[in-house]
């Protein structure tokens, strides 16, 4: 691929230019004092110039959070988090965009280069000034990017083009100012403030995130994308994303995450709320490769995320696709409330744990409307001393006549020190519903590896190929641009897991 070559060469020439980078991007930051109390919540709200109702909403969440206990049911273990020992607000003092790729974190570029993202897109993703103004390679489907750089969204591209169709795609803080009626109508209606410990924390202190509104009957002309990035030291990141697809509209949203290497564990507690009205379709794809910690499990991101979709309208459809390769701990259950009759929920997941990573992830499908359908395909890969748990709930209410669910959970083990666990809950209270569950656990067979190596593939390439084959059903759900990236990520994540 010439684009990749160009990218690698350019990055090389850029790095040879003599500019020295550190781990953290050298941008002056503004911090709120360390710790968490009502004053911090007020500080964040004031910094964002929020209306009174939102401050009240945050304070209510904070009051509830204080009374809640950190959940301990997940199959993950980590030292107790000191919530008073973190910064809850960090923002660049000016909204400076990097002028060129010279100013972008080389670690990030290295990852991009490994992933083979074309330079043009790298620039956009890294938030380089002006990079998103012209479409990437001629004829290709452009991607609109909203980059969240720590707490403040610093770059939004393609915004004007989207505005022509009446689509709103902006930082949620901006939406609070520009479209308060929409935010107020939908915020917290899918994930209420007191939903769970981490969602309550997020509701109190969320700093930024993306907001999307697709008007009635509009098919969003491009993929919308957010690249989240955690940069400042000891900053929890609490983004809040709200996507509303109005009647008959369609949108595909991509969320990508990268984090630079760091020694301290960093907390990430995001909330994503999706609302699909009658006949609307939302496709939400995530590729998450946050720093997983070193081989001994030091450092790495704690990823405690609440993602939920409300299929409010009849015949609405939400499809979650996730490729989780990073983070020290992943605690994440993208769910669908299938409220509208004939609504459809899908969950396609690949989760990899290597070294000492722990993942407890899955989905919940709540069948409420008639003839609602859900599909769950989960692929867990454990290597090194990684622990991987699928935890899912399929709940069918008495009114959900004709509801159907199909669940498939496959686990792949690499080595003999890792673990795979499947915890599927099924609660069916409707006679006419049909629920299917299939599960398999396998290893990469010695004869498969030998066959590949006999054809000239290195052991790592062979593992990469076999793992990608194992995940194919999920990867094919990703938009093209992401699928290529995800395939390479799978391989990078498993580096050093064999031999």
């Amino acid at each position: 691929m010439p684009a990749v070559t160009e990218t690698l060469e350019t990055v090389q020439s850029v790095t040879e230019g003599g500019y020295k980078w550190g781990f953290e991007t050298d941008i002056e930051m503004e911090f709120a004092p360390k710790g968490l109390n009502e004053d911090i919540v007020r500080f964040i709200s004031a910094k964002k110039n929020e209306p009174a109702w939102l401050l009240e909403w945050r304070l209510k969440a904070f009051a509830m959070w204080k009374k809640m206990e950190e959940p301990s049911w997940a199959a993950v273990s980590y030292p107790k988090i000191d919530y008073q020992d973190a910064y809850y607000y960090a923002a660049p003092t000016q909204k400076v965009k990097p002028k060129s790729l010279d100013e972008v974190d080389p670690e990030l570029l290295k990852t991009y280069a490994k992933l083979g993202i074309p330079l043009k897109e790298q620039a956009i993703l890294a938030g380089v000034e002006g990079a998103g103004d012209t479409p990437a390679d001629g004829g290709r489907m452009p991607i609109a990017v909203d980059a969240v750089f720590d707490s403040v969204s610093v770059a939004t591209s393609y915004k004007e083009r989207l505005a022509k169709d009446g689509i709103i795609f902006c930082a949620i803080s901006e939406a609070v100012q520009e479209h308060p009626e929409l935010v107020r109508q939908y915020l917290g209606t899918v994930v209420p403030q007191a939903d769970n410990y981490f969602a309550a924390l997020n509701s109190a202190v969320f700093t930024d995130g993306s907001f999307v509104y697709i008007p009635k009957g509009v098919r969003c002309p491009m993929e919308l994308s957010t690249y989240f990035r955690i940069n400042a030291k000891s900053t929890g990141q609490f983004e809040r994303t709200l996507i509303i697809a109005d009647e008959g509209s369609t949108v595909s949203y991509l969320e990508g995450c990268t984090a630079p290497q760091r020694d301290e564990n960093q907390l990430h507690a995001a909330v994503v709320e999706l609302v699909a009205l009658d006949d609307a379709t939302i496709k939400y794809s995530t590729v998450q490769n946050w720093y997983p910690g070193d081989a001994e499990g030091r450092g790495g991101i704690y990823n405690f995320v609440t993602k939920r979709a409300d299929c409010r309208g009849a015949r609405s459809k939400v499809s979650w696709t996730q490729v989780e390769t990073g983070s020290a701990i992943t605690w994440k259950y993208p769910s669908c409330i299938l409220r509208g009759d004939d609504s459809v929920g899908e969950f396609y997941s690949v989760a990899i744990t290597n070294n000492r990573q722990q993942a407890d992830t899955g989905t919940k499908m709540f069948h409420i409307g008639k003839n609602t359908r859900s599909t769950i395909v989960s692929k867990g890969i454990s290597a090194g001393r990684g622990q991987n748990t699928y935890r899912g709930l399929v709940k069918i209410s008495p009114k959900a006549a004709g509801a159907r669910n199909f669940t498939q959970c496959d686990s792949l083990l690499i080595g003999d020190e890792c673990g795979a666990h499947t915890v599927p809950y099924i609660e069916n209270r409707c006679m006419s519903a049909k629920v299917e569950h299939e599960a398999t656990t396998s290893r990469i067979a010695e004869d498969q590896l030998f066959y590949c190596r006999q054809r000239g593939l290195s052991e790592e390439d062979a593992v990469g190929l076999i793992v990608n084959g194992f995940c194919r059903e999920v990867l094919k759900e990703l938009p093209m641009e992401f699928a290529v990236e995800a395939q390479k990520l799978l391989q990078i994540s498993l580096e050093g897991s064999v031999g």
Binding site: F450, R453, Q454, G456, L457, L465, I466, R472
Partner: protein
């Protein structure tokens, strides 16, 4: 080209090869015949470097290099190709993707440029036409759901595409009908030339009617007990292995 000297090998602690000596010159085709359990498959796995096949004594030199010191993939890109008796299934891995990855690994080792997806398809389709393989076999996952004959065709496609300098055919003819057998022979014969050598392992003389070997060896209890020209295969077909084994 290939020099095997006094080769001893064990599998699971059991001695299978007990002093096998064999030399193959460039361009030669050797056939190895022998009864079940004589060590035919073990020989092919030892040469390809499969884990669990431990060499306890002896040496193998390939193009002047110590073959036994090389990783399986190093042997592969150096031109050693093993056509599997039971080709392995790789669920979800597209046949085209697999074969192109392999081809590019070999091309890189030879210092040739890699082929992109379009160039690859051109090359592959041309070969498949000769092998009478439908185009859609490229899209299917490697060997998954393939019939026995399709799997062997696929092995031959890989062999033809990778154009090895030493092909090891491990009972590739087992379970094949006469048309498929001819296809295997045609593929080997099409590669025949001064830089292509092959070790054809088989139970039956049938295959050797189509691939006429330069030399035929009888393997028994881990050693070569008789060697001769193509006529030896005919004789074995008539008299069976027992006579040779008894004479040795």
């Amino acid at each position: 080209m290939l020099k095997i000297e006094n080769l001893h090998a064990t599998v699971d602690g059991k001695q299978i090869l007990k002093g096998l000596t064999l030399e193959i010159a460039p361009g030669e085709i050797h056939a190895i015949m022998g009864p079940n359990g004589s060590g035919k498959s073990t020989l092919s796995y030892v040469l390809a470097g499969r884990e669990g096949y431990e060499v306890t004594e002896g040496s193998v030199t390939y193009k002047g290099q110590d073959l036994l010191a090389m990783e399986p993939e190093e042997r592969a890109v150096a031109g050693v190709f093993l056509a599997f008796q039971a080709p392995v299934e790789l669920p979800g891995v597209g046949n085209a993707n697999f074969l192109r990855t392999a081809l590019n690994a070999v091309r890189r080792a030879k210092g040739e440029s890699e082929v992109d997806a379009i160039q690859f398809l051109k090359l592959a389709r041309a070969r498949m036409k000769v092998l009478n393989m439908p185009d859609d076999m490229l899209k299917r996952p490697v060997n998954v759901g393939f019939s026995g004959g399709e799997k062997k065709r696929n092995e031959m496609l890989q062999m033809a595409m990778l154009s090895p300098t030493l092909a090891l055919l491990d009972e590739t003819d087992s379970g094949l009908d006469i048309d498929a057998l001819k296809m295997v022979a045609d593929t080997v014969n099409s590669l025949r030339g001064p830089t292509f050598s092959a070790l054809v392992i088989t139970h039956y003389q049938r295959l050797l009617n189509h691939i006429v070997p330069d030399h035929v060896h009888v393997l028994s209890a881990g050693r070569i007990i008789r060697s001769g020209g193509p006529e030896l295969a005919q004789e074995l077909e008539a008299t069976g292995y027992a006579a040779s084994v008894a004479a040795a």
